[in-house]
């Protein structure tokens, strides 16, 4: 740091030097922390570009001798990557669409309507957000097995139809902030609540609708344990396939292909987030959830 070693000429330059030194420290910290946070994923990409020999060698090969771009193509043929990606996509789209609509529907009820027992129900809704899902998932699996719904996508349809407490809360906050005149005018015009919801409230809630859809989609795409429990090897999702199926016929893992595959599994989620970031943040802040 040359800035601090300069002899102070006057108090003004002294201050300037101090400010500069402070800024230098700030940016150094900022850049190194950011580097640290990007490191694990960067290393995963690098690992996907190495040969199996380089990944097994000690000491570490920092960079591949030759960048093995073909690993990314081979990852598609080693397993039915596209087939698993399609399964993931179907489940995620199915669940995200259903749960977004059902949560908006339920959120409307909590935001704009009244009935005896509403307070208690809302308390239960908030409380159920704190319920550890793993505790309910295992017995749910046994029940689904009994009903013959294992290895079908029905569990995701049922979960989707029954709304997610967190998303209900998101929609409730948003709908509660909309002016009362909106529905009063509609009621005077003889509209039922169903059409008030579909025609007036839903079209106004694009920020929350998209935020909810993205949350539900990424959550399902990322979920490992439910598909691992409920789906067979052929019908399972990309998350499970990337984790468990990159092995040779002899049962030895193929780490370089697994690394390449996991990068391709993660990147769509990162892209969705980057593209949606602006609207997403707007949706989160207008719903008052921060």
């Amino acid at each position: 740091m040359t800035a601090t070693s300069l002899p102070p000429k006057s108090s003004l330059t002294d201050v300037r030097v101090r400010v500069r030194a402070k800024r230098l420290v700030l940016y150094t910290v900022l850049v190194s922390v950011t580097g640290l946070f990007l490191g694990p994923f960067g290393w995963l990409i690098l690992s996907g570009l190495k040969t199996q020999g380089e990944l097994a060698a000690s000491p570490v090969h920092w960079l591949p001798e030759v960048f093995q771009w073909h690993n990314f193509a081979d990852a598609f043929t080693q397993i039915d990557f596209l087939g698993y990606a399609r399964n993931s996509l179907i489940i995620a789209l199915l669940y995200a669409t259903l749960v977004t609509l059902s949560s908006a529907w339920v959120g409307f009820g909590f935001a704009r309507l009244d009935a005896p027992g509403k307070k208690v129900l809302f308390g239960v809704l908030l409380g159920s957000m704190m319920l550890p899902q793993m505790v309910t998932l295992l017995p749910t699996y046994l029940i689904f097995a009994k009903l013959g719904m294992v290895d079908t996508y029905w569990p995701w349809v049922l979960w989707g139809l029954s709304a997610a407490p967190y998303l209900v809360f998101l929609f409730r906050q948003f709908f509660a902030g909309m002016p009362r005149e909106l529905e009063e005018a509609a009621i005077v015009d003889g509209c039922g609540y169903t059409s008030i919801f579909w025609r007036i409230f839903l079209p106004q809630s694009w920020p929350v609708l998209s935020a909810s859809f993205i949350i539900a989609f990424t959550w399902t795409w990322g979920d490992y344990i439910a598909p691992q429990l409920l789906l067979s090897t052929d019908r399972t999702t990309l998350a499970v396939a990337v984790m468990t199926t990159y092995v040779n016929d002899g049962g030895t893992p193929v780490p370089e292909l697994q690394a390449a595959a996991s990068v391709m599994y993660v990147v769509p989620i990162l892209l969705i987030f980057l593209v949606a970031q602006r609207g997403f943040v707007a949706g989160m802040s207008t719903s008052g959830l921060k």
Binding site: W62, S128, P139, W159, T194, G222, L274
Partner: protein, 332 residues
């Protein structure tokens, strides 16, 4: 909630499929209030029914199973009363797993909150490319668990991992990070990696702190640390409380140890190193490796009750410390 109301709710399948304009002529002439009440239950019924069928029923089923020796195969299962509970109390593996989980929760939650707050303060400063830094620091929080688990497996690989590569430069021998006793630190780091989540939420809180408060404090001669402690933290306390509770629940049910373990049978639960053998891993082992549904259900119910107690205690002990800033203009 009365049976009447449930049946009203059930009468009208409140699924999202019912759309279209309401037909005026068909509508019975009831009072506005009654209509609103009925409509409330029509709208909330998908969640009510789903909650009863997909949450309450499985929990009740697990409670019933926890009193039996049910294993899914043997037809000779029987009712054993509190037998499973007595067994788990006397099983040292349960206690070890429980203690490990508690330790993991009380370390990972505060550390990730501190990390998230630190990041928030860092990127809340007037810096160049602020949005870029925020995005990059938040990105790891979006990476799905499988991606995170694999990234850390490669990063901490004993031979080809970058971490040991760096250690070797400093003349330190390679460490078996993914095995005992170090695996717990890798697990902790996967949690810290996602601190961007807390950063974003705290950032929203930081930006809400009124400027005048900071200026007033500066005029009074308060140091920046003092301002942070006495103004920023109290105003952020509801957010921090929320993070503490959700963080605790998330850490209790994390499956990351499975994802960090070497590939093995039954979802890898048999290959999880001792130091990452958390309570949930114990449950998995009983469920899938051994098929002891009855015993595993008892374990789940004990966990459920413990989480309820812990949540209650957190709320009780923070009720005085959490400051809710009620802004009269906040409600537009």
């Amino acid at each position: 909630m009365t049976a009447d109301q449930i049946s009203t709710a059930l009468d009208r399948p409140g699924t999202t499929a019912t759309s279209g304009p309401a037909r005026l002529a068909d509508r019975p002439r009831t009072s506005m209030t009654a209509r609103r009440h009925r409509a409330f239950y029509m709208f909330t019924s998908p969640w009510i029914i789903g909650f009863l069928l997909l949450t309450v029923t499985p929990m009740a089923y697990a409670l019933w199973l926890s009193f039996t020796t049910f294993d899914g195969i043997s037809p000779n299962w029987r009712y054993v009363g509190l037998g499973n509970y007595r067994e788990l109390m006397n099983d040292p593996v349960t206690w070890d797993a429980l203690g490990r989980t508690g330790l993991f929760a009380v370390t990972s939650v505060p550390l990730s909150i501190i990390a998230g707050l630190g990041l928030a303060v860092l990127v809340n400063r007037p810096i160049k490319a602020r949005g870029l830094f925020r995005t990059l620091l938040y990105l790891p929080a979006v990476v799905p668990p499988v991606g995170a688990g694999l990234a850390f497996k490669f990063l901490f690989d004993q031979n080809s991992g970058a971490t040991n590569g760096v250690l070797t430069i400093f003349g330190i021998d390679a460490i078996g990070w993914l095995a005992d006793p170090y695996a717990r630190y890798v697990l902790l780091m996967t949690v810290l990696w996602a601190a961007g989540n807390i950063m974003i939420i705290s950032l929203a809180g930081l930006q809400d702190v009124p400027r005048e408060l900071h200026e007033a404090a500066r005029i009074d001669g308060a140091s920046s640390w003092r301002t942070f402690r006495s103004i920023t933290i109290p105003l952020l306390s509801p957010v921090l409380l929320f993070q503490t509770v959700t963080g605790m629940i998330a850490s209790v049910q994390t499956i990351m140890p499975l994802l960090l373990a070497p590939l093995g049978d039954t979802g890898g639960v048999t290959t999880v190193p001792q130091s990452n053998y958390l309570y949930m891993m114990h449950v998995f082992a009983q469920y899938f490796a051994l098929g002891r549904y009855g015993y595993a259900s008892a374990l789940l119910w004990v966990l459920f009750v413990l989480i309820l107690i812990a949540t209650g205690l957190i709320f009780k002990f923070t009720s005085g410390a959490v400051f809710y800033n009620v802004d009269p203009e906040a409600k537009k």
